[in-house]
């Protein structure tokens, strides 16, 4: 029975006592048909009981909690950079629509957007770590530095983070760039932009005071939607850089067919994204005067 998780609990190369297999299946509920397993999973999930990981031999919730902070650091930094970069480049591109800056920046954005995330990681590792030896190839800290002072530890962390952050930033900033650009192009056809020009404002001030504040609003809502995409990017980045976060954990769960862990991870991913969406909605109602909190 390939892909049977119960099989994975038994050390390799040993004869398996079928009755033990049977009991283990029973213990983990694997003897039930798949739909019933699924139902049991849903019921348990709503009780916030994510199950038990075969591979780590610990409750899924605990395993995830240990690995999650690293992911939040990686995603937090790269998204902050990507949003700022994407929005500002997008704003300029929209303003100079059809000019050289627009063409170059959107082409660049489109290229990084079309890349598989993990492949970009590979290229960066090959160039900067393997060839040039500038950064460590993976992980999150160097073991020998365990007892070094706090600054050395931080520098070490930064060195480990730099390539993963660049990878994740590059693959996600294009989304923000294009949204901001198109939103800006839309806003510029509005009458109030004409009013602003008629008032005698310079083009720069029209952009800064009138166009961007309006173009930002629809862009903010798309941050939330983009997050679903970023989870996938983070997962690939972590795997390529052996970065110990929940993406790496997902990879291990796939490899060892640890379904409880896999489902738990999916649940946490979805939960985080939904919370982020909710937060984005609330932020939106604050920054857009047209939407009032009921």
């Amino acid at each position: 029975m390939p892909g049977d998780p119960a099989r994975l609990l038994i050390p390799r190369g040993r004869a398996i006592d079928p009755s033990i297999m049977e009991r283990m299946r029973e213990f983990y509920g694997l003897d039930k048909p798949i739909p019933i397993q699924l139902l049991a999973y849903i019921v348990q999930t709503f009780q916030l009981n994510l199950g038990y990981s075969f591979y780590y031999k610990a409750p899924v919730g605990q395993v995830i909690a240990a690995w999650l902070p690293n992911t939040l650091v990686l995603v937090g930094i790269s998204e902050a950079v990507a949003i700022v970069l994407g929005f500002s480049v997008g704003a300029i591109a929209g303003w100079k629509r059809g000019k050289r800056f627009d063409i170059i920046s959107t082409t660049f954005g489109l290229t990084t957007w079309s890349m598989p995330t993990f492949w970009l990681g590979i290229v960066l590792i090959m160039v900067f770590s393997v060839r040039l030896g500038l950064f460590p190839v993976g992980g999150v800290r160097t073991l020998e530095l365990q007892y070094a002072n706090i600054f050395q530890q931080l520098a070490d962390l930064a060195a480990h983070l730099i390539l993963p952050v660049i990878t994740l930033t590059l693959v996600s900033f294009a989304e923000y760039l294009l949204i901001m650009r198109n939103s800006l192009v839309d806003v510029m056809t509005e009458d109030f932009v004409l009013t602003a020009r008629a008032k005698g404002l310079t083009e720069q001030r029209v952009l800064r005071d009138h166009v961007i504040p309006n173009a930002l609003l629809p862009s903010v809502t798309t941050i939330a939607i983009a997050l679903g995409f970023i989870v996938g990017g983070a997962l690939q980045t972590e795997i390529i850089f052996s970065y110990p976060g929940i993406g790496m954990l997902t990879f291990q769960a796939i490899e060892f067919r640890d379904y409880a862990l896999l489902q738990g991870l999916f649940f946490i991913d979805a939960l985080l994204v939904i919370i982020a969406n909710f937060a984005a909605d609330i932020i939106y109602t604050y920054i857009d005067p047209r939407v009032k909190l009921q």
């Binding site: 008629a198 008032k199 309006n214």
Partner: protein, 316 residues
Amino acid sequence: MTALLEVDGLKTYFRADGEYVKAVDDVSFRVNKGESVGLAGESGCGKTTVALSLMRLLPSNASIQGGRILYEGQDIVSMSDRRLRKTRWKEISIVFQGAMNALNPVKRVVDQIAEPMILHGDVSKPAARKAAERLVELVGIDKTRAKEYPHEFSGGMRQRVMIAMALACDPRLVILDEPTTALDVMTKTQIQQLVKNIQKELDLSTILITHDLSVIAETCEKVAIMYAGKLAEYGDVVSVFKAPLHPYTEGLIKAFPNIRGSRELPASIPGTPPNLLHPPAGCRFAPRCPIAGKECEALPPDKTLETGRFVSCWKR
């Protein structure tokens, strides 16, 4: 009377697929100090393009191809961008149609009114806000509402805000582009009265752009009628309405139903306006004109009568 604004042979063309659409083609008229001029015509006649040309606010595919726009003797067409920005709003301001989109939806009304004051004058922000609140009251809105956003106002109120905004820098000339078009008749009247009062009080010159001749009849002193990018007729309101010279003007006036007249259908003008990509070589109204003759195949002469009236027609 001295002229505040003189438009002389204005040509504004749009570029479309390598060809020129002659949206405004050789239009001349003048606005004297303290005078209200109405610019009328149907959709596509070029009246809004004239308005945008006066402040050089044209979209990127349009450009002024000829003529002069003299404001106090200074030619706006050839003015440097810096000079132009100083002229905008301080000398000439504009009230756009459809006030919803003409106001920035995410800025408070009071700040939008104060913005040009701070830009053009040496005013502090609080002082500008104070002045903006006074303007809000002047146009008949409670000043406590000045802190609100445009979407919290009704259509008529937003148009009042636009008018307050246009007055922010004490301009000499205000262009009103279809200011009452989407409004109900009572609100329309309220706004018209407001504009009339303010104009008298501040000795403003105004250019009112509208398709609705009755609005011009009730609020303007002079009227210019445009047809297919050309000026058809110009003169004082009473004589143009009472004795129109151009057959188009005559048709347009007759096309308006009048509740003071007898109960009958208004008259229509047969046909449709020409395509401005390839307009007729002669008089552009000739294909629809009831009195057109052989000579109308050539460009009609510009006739200025000693009464100050202007008409572009062979037959008059």
